[in-house]
């Protein structure tokens, strides 16, 4: 077992531990920080798969964007002056049964598909960022433009939805 494999297994073990802890965390802040840990560890797993640009994009967009928005959500909707931000679990036994059954089905599919016989890529010929840039502007130009339109629509929609409402009998117009 080379040192690279040991570090890879350490990343895998840490991600598994963080996600299982996140499943049973009752405090919202604990859950948000465990999601932070899972996102960074998954970004490390991307590096092991040869996707360095994607790993950096994951940290920038997910950790630096989506997680901050989630923390804002906890801060603004958690009523933090009265009590700790907690979230109880309901339907624990059916939830565990469904998740365990789903896990077993997925593991069975992984085993039965015999993907263990595939061979990993050798060291790629060109820089990963260059390859993604080239693909984005030639083969994936249409999704690129569509995503920019989508982001404009999301910006307008989110800004409109979270505008300050006038206090008229407590009614909120969507």
């Amino acid at each position: 077992m080379s040192i690279g494999e040991i570090i890879f297994l350490a990343f895998v073990g840490a991600t598994a531990a963080a996600s299982v802890w996140l499943a049973f965390a009752r405090n919202l802040i604990t859950a948000a920080f465990l999601l932070f840990a899972v996102l960074i560890l998954v970004s490390g797993l991307y590096v092991f798969a040869g996707a360095e640009f994607l790993a950096m994009s994951q940290i920038i967009i997910y950790v630096g964007g989506a997680l901050i928005v989630i923390l804002f959500g906890v801060m603004l909707t958690g009523k933090l002056r009265e009590h700790k931000p907690k979230s109880e679990m309901v339907n624990l036994l059916p939830g565990i049964l469904v998740a365990a059954a789903l896990m077993l089905a997925l593991l069975f599919a992984i085993k039965e598909s015999h993907v263990g016989q595939l061979v990993p890529n050798s060291i790629p010929l060109e820089n990963n960022t260059e390859a993604i840039g080239r693909e984005m502007l030639t083969n994936y130009l249409l999704p690129f433009e569509l995503v920019s339109v989508l982001l404009l629509v999301v910006l307008a929609g989110a800004a409109y939805l979270s505008r300050k409402q006038k206090r008229n009998q407590g009614e909120v117009k969507p």
């Binding site: 890879f8 297994l9 895998v12 991600t15 598994a16 996600s19 299982v20 996140l22 919202l28 859950a31 999601l35 998954v42 797993l45 798969a49 996707a51 640009f53 994607l54 994009s57 994951q58 997910y62 989506a66 928005v69 989630i70 804002f72 959500g73 603004l76 909707t77 958690g78 979230s87 679990m89 309901v90 339907n91 624990l92 059916p94 939830g95 998740a99 365990a100 789903l102 896990m103 997925l106 992984i110 085993k111 993907v115 263990g116 595939l118 061979v119 990993p120 890529n121 993604i132 693909e135 984005m136 994936y140 995503v147 982001l151 999301v154 910006l155 989110a158 939805l161 979270s162 909120v172």
Partner: protein, 101 residues
């Protein structure tokens, strides 16, 4: 058990934890965390398979677009949660039941 199977098993674990979070939590923010975990699991599968097909960038491109869409979806979901909080003064999903009989 080579590295590809470990990647897929890790993706399956993240997916199941995300489904478990959505099923068992009544706070809207925790359901959002579950959705993020599910999207990360699918991204992990994409990236793992892109490593095993020679010269193909489809897996990484798909994962990149999924990351962008997940960020957009978190923004919209957060604005919806804020609107619901302004109306109902809570984000506990059991107390938002005015559409029931």
């Amino acid at each position: 058990m080579n590295a590809l199977e470990i990647y897929l098993a890790m993706g399956a674990l993240l997916f199941c934890v995300g489904v478990f979070l959505i099923l068992t939590r009544r706070n809207a923010i925790m359901a959002l965390l579950g959705i993020e975990l599910i999207l990360n699991a699918s991204n992990l599968n994409f990236v793992a398979f892109s490593n095993y097909v020679p010269g193909a960038m489809e897996g990484q491109m798909a994962a990149l677009f999924v990351i962008v869409l997940a960020a957009a979806e978190v923004a919209v979901a957060f604005s919806i949660i804020l609107t619901v909080y302004q109306r109902f003064k809570t984000v506990h999903l059991d107390e938002i039941d005015t559409m029931k009989e």
